[in-house]
Symmetry: C2
Subunit: 379 residues, 2 copies
């Protein structure tokens, strides 16, 4: 479809925003002649368009941008129970969405998703470009080629050919990815951290997931298990280490996950609603404070270890908005900062961001967008 040269132009335009032909030539370190040819081609194909004329000294430059109707992408989140399906444009803007109960039988799931894709397509109307592909974000391990769900305890799937099955009923190319990975890829493509070649993302939900962009590309690990931070042995303080479902004690998720926090609150006779719990800490309730303090501190230590090993330029933590603004967020930051070795003029920034409804589905859509914009060069 597109050549490597085309993809390079599309990806830098998407990453760095609209720019002129000459800027592109500088950014990609190729001749203006080549850019001229390729851009002409992309405009003719309806993917790029001239957006604005910028006046400076000399001849004004014409900024180029992706046509928002060049293509559109379907994103499906199987991360948690209401399955979310969205349709986005090449800039990551959501054109339509649909929410449905999560179905775990593979065949029924694919059938339902095919119907959902039709609904979303209708809702988006005629302003949207042709659908270039479907991205699926799911918990668990996914094959390196992004086709097979190797093992997902949450869905009860083992070796399910998601790409094959979903592609058969929709007629569209399908790309599957682990949920945390989809989230970071979405951030890289659509989010504000996109220009950063080395950053890490940690997600705090019922479990705890992480993912890493190294050298501009996703780091999957040799067995596809990189970022499995959930069962990192952190909370080993002597006798207090809690048993984990993985069989060990002291795993991070036994202390810092939403489930763990709810469990601890219940055991202390408090509410198991996170929002209420956070509100109680604001009022200074000692037991609620202790629970969130402990959870935040453990995650902070895990983040410190992550930073020491990976040395990313940024760590993005995505979590419940209530937690973000509570003592959890404050202790998390403080604990991480005290345990990271400081060097002059060198610092990893920590960003906390509240989870939004469509975060995972948007990340999933970015999988299809990646293929469209970048091609298969970046695996």
């Amino acid at each position: 479809m597109f050549s490597a040269g085309h993809h390079r132009i599309l990806s830098t335009l998407s990453r760095l925003g609209a720019m002129s032909r000459t800027d592109l030539a500088r950014a990609l370190d190729v001749s203006k002649a080549s850019i001229s040819m390729l851009v002409r081609d992309l405009i003719a194909r309806g993917v790029l368009r001239e957006e604005a004329v910028v006046f400076g000294q000399g001849r004004p430059s014409i900024t180029l941008g992706l046509c928002s109707d060049a293509a559109s992408f379907i994103g499906i989140s199987l991360h948690a129970d209401p399955t979310t399906v969205v349709m986005t444009d090449p800039h990551g803007r959501i054109l339509a969405r649909y929410v449905m109960p999560r179905e775990t039988d593979p065949h029924a799931c694919f059938e339902g998703l095919a119907r959902a894709v039709d609904i979303v397509r209708k809702r988006a109307g005629s302003g949207a470009g042709p659908i270039a592909g479907i991205g699926v974000a799911q918990p668990g391990f996914v094959s390196r080629d992004g086709r097979i769900s190797l093992a997902s305890t949450a869905l009860g799937w083992v070796n399910v050919d998601v790409a094959g099955g979903l592609s058969a009923v929709t007629g569209l190319p399908v790309f599957v990815e682990n949920d945390a990975n989809a989230l970071i890829l979405g951030e890289q493509l659509f989010g504000p951290s996109g220009d950063c070649p080395d950053f890490s993302l940690v997600f705090v939900g019922d479990g705890i997931g992480s993912a890493h962009i190294v050298n501009g590309r996703l780091h999957r690990g040799h067995h596809g298990g990189a970022g499995e931070i959930s069962h990192s042995p952190i909370a080993l303080d002597g006798s207090g280490a809690l048993p984990c479902r993985c069989g060990n004690r002291g795993c991070l998720e036994t202390v810092s996950s939403l489930q763990a926090i709810r469990g601890a609150a219940r055991q202390a006779g408090l509410t198991s609603d996170i929002d209420e719990l956070a509100a109680m800490t604001a009022d200074g309730h000692p037991e609620a404070l202790a629970i969130l303090h402990r959870a935040g501190a453990a995650l902070g230590i895990a983040l410190a270890q992550l930073v020491q090993m990976f040395d990313p330029s940024q760590v993005l933590v995505i979590l419940d908005p209530a937690l973000k603004d509570s003592v959890f967020g404050r202790v998390l930051r403080q604990e991480m900062e005290t345990h990271v070795l400081r060097r002059a003029g060198v610092q990893t920034t920590l960003t906390l961001r509240g989870l939004e409804d469509d975060s995972f589905a948007k990340g999933a859509a970015s999988l299809a967008a990646q293929k469209f914009l970048f091609g298969n060069e970046w695996t």
Copy 2:
């Protein structure tokens, strides 16, 4: 000097061992015609040679290999006090070596090293190829371009232009790298783990260092600080957390480094000689056992965290041979294995290897060899 095509051939030949032209065409996915041209060129330049005729069906193939006198490389280890200087061939075989006291004044150091290079060159005799460059392995942080020593507490260097200074007195290109990084690059190029695209190395010495090969290339981190495992907060078991020179408590190096082990032994009234201490554990001495057990367990937990985050295919731990065969090694392995989440058919292998005299110098030499074989493509 060499084109990208040349470098691709040299690097695969070095990585995967001798192979025929047709094998190369398959491995690199280029036409046999191109390979034919490039190989002819490399043979004419004296870098490659036809090594053996392999008979199968059809016309026999001719395996190609690197000429061992195509070039030679100088490796300098400033890792510890006796500075070691070696000269190797393109296969990593050591042709000559020279050991001298470590000098910390930059100017004097470079002068001394220049003399050492001359000595090593003479010792190697005329069988060695022309020297292609000098690699330097040093503790501390090094600039991304491999020229400047940004900060090294052990040497007392801050912003020392090592490449410039040493290049001026030797007339050879110089490449500087952090010691752990040099070690893993040497392993990748010259060692048995070379074909592995994702592996990690941990070094236990007076400090503890680690380095990671991700996707076939060294992961430096955004600030060049990836692998700083030494001050990972591991040993946090309540009141027992020891203060560290970094200002925190419970850092890995306060428990598992050679210095920490010696310190703990001294405090218990035992010998501070590692060999003797290891021998005592073999005899079942309870206090010696406790010290090495604790040190090994802490490192095992750190390794488990490393494996969970990076998911390498292999972790190579380089340590004092006496430690390797003691309870330290056994506990290390056991603790790591219990804390790594298991998945069916998926496992990271842990390899312990004793430190050899020339390990760091050989790694340093590999820096120069990398540039010769791979060019600047791999940064």
